[in-house]
Symmetry: C2
Subunit: 240 residues, 2 copies
């Protein structure tokens, strides 16, 4: 109650960080049941027992909160996906790809609203801030996939019907990162990585948004078949 305590990092700042965390936690809870549109500053404040306008000390606007959430959620997704990949031996390219793909789907099924938050329409007229945090996580996803593809290169190149891709086709910062991590990889590999991304995204998005349910009862089987085919199209032996 007195003395100096460990006020080193500032007691006020700590309380502030705690409140910020609570706001985000409640926002995520509201989103989990009710979707991103259910994230209302007033509802959060009500749940926390504070006044509606108090939130504005912590987030300048609702979109700022959404932006932060997107960053957090996207980061947690990537953490999980990378962990799944790293649970496979580094030289087991096929299973690393399969693990990556399955991890995304499992995460999406467990956090459908989170998936929609990241990859869908976050909310009414929401505009992602230029060069903001979300692109950073997306780049991480893209780079991770590039790594998976790089492990199959140039073996997979011959199997692909590639266009004539140039480095200038891609964002400079992404190119820099990729060339730094994989110096000898040609631009076609980056294009292939993006296509792999799209291939994983397609069925998951359809399923998450409820377009697959009315057609099939076995989306898992379908997705697995797609992943197996994807792996084979990269010239790898069948996993498992």
């Amino acid at each position: 109650m007195s003395s100096v305590d460990e006020q080193v990092p500032g007691r006020r700042a700590r309380l502030r960080a705690q409140t910020t965390a609570e706001i985000k936690a409640i926002a995520l809870k509201l989103m989990a049941d009710g979707g991103a549109d259910a994230i209302s500053l007033r509802a959060i404040a009500r749940e926390m027992g504070m006044s509606g306008s108090a939130i504005y000390s912590y987030f300048e606007t609702r979109d700022a909160l959404i932006t932060t959430l997107i960053n957090d959620v996207y980061t947690s997704l990537m953490d999980q996906v990378e962990a799944a990949r790293d649970a496979c031996r580094p030289d087991d390219a096929a299973n690393r790809i399969l693990a990556w793909g399955q991890a995304i789907r499992e995460w999406a099924l467990a956090n459908p609203q989170g998936f929609r938050l990241i990859y869908g329409d976050p909310v009414a007229g929401y505009q992602a801030p230029e060069g903001g945090p979300a692109p950073e996580a997306a780049k991480r996803a893209c780079l991770g996939l590039t790594g998976l593809v790089a492990a199959t290169w140039p073996h997979s190149q011959s199997l692909q019907a590639g266009g004539d891709h140039q480095w200038s086709d891609f964002a400079p910062t992404l190119v820099a990162t990729v060339r730094d991590a994989f110096p000898d990889l040609p631009p076609a590999a980056l294009a292939l990585a993006l296509r792999v991304w799209g291939r994983m995204h397609g069925l998951i998005a359809l399923e998450t948004y409820g377009h697959l349910g009315p057609q099939t009862h076995e989306p898992a089987k379908l997705y697995r078949a797609e992943m197996i085919d994807l792996i084979r199209s990269l010239g790898l032996e069948q996993p498992k």
Copy 2:
């Protein structure tokens, strides 16, 4: 100004249909710039010069209007896609698939908000009515793709790493429609059709929602490469 006029179909009903059409037209305009969330019944009424509550004579609720719009837009998309497909000779399976895929992407780029309306989160807590009209259009999409795949069958079967799909894996009505149109097609072909759907959907969804833009400047090239590879994975000669 007088006489009996052609009141055969009911003058009242005609006016009503006209007003309904105007509401939908304005709703689409609001959606085109501002997204689905910009569709507000009050704004529509304002634009039409009528009172806010008047709309409720034409649509019981906002979600009812959205549902109708989804149906209309989805139908127009399918019309366009099927037209693009039918512009190719029936025996030119490769170009029919390519045309189908390109038509979806071009439509999505021309009507991004329409794409989001169909395949994304339509709006705050919107719940698609069970067995409603949207599933019908989705079934049409799925059936169209099945036809494209059927044209490559059983040639494409041997190239696929298929799971062991049963008819019972799919929705009964879809199965009935498919077996009626293609009596000798096995369930694996239907699974392949859904996978093709997902493969087309993936890159388009990423691009439409702005996740591809930060990575590449050439999404068209990327998508085309994916379609070419998809066609080759079905065992067809390269188109064009």
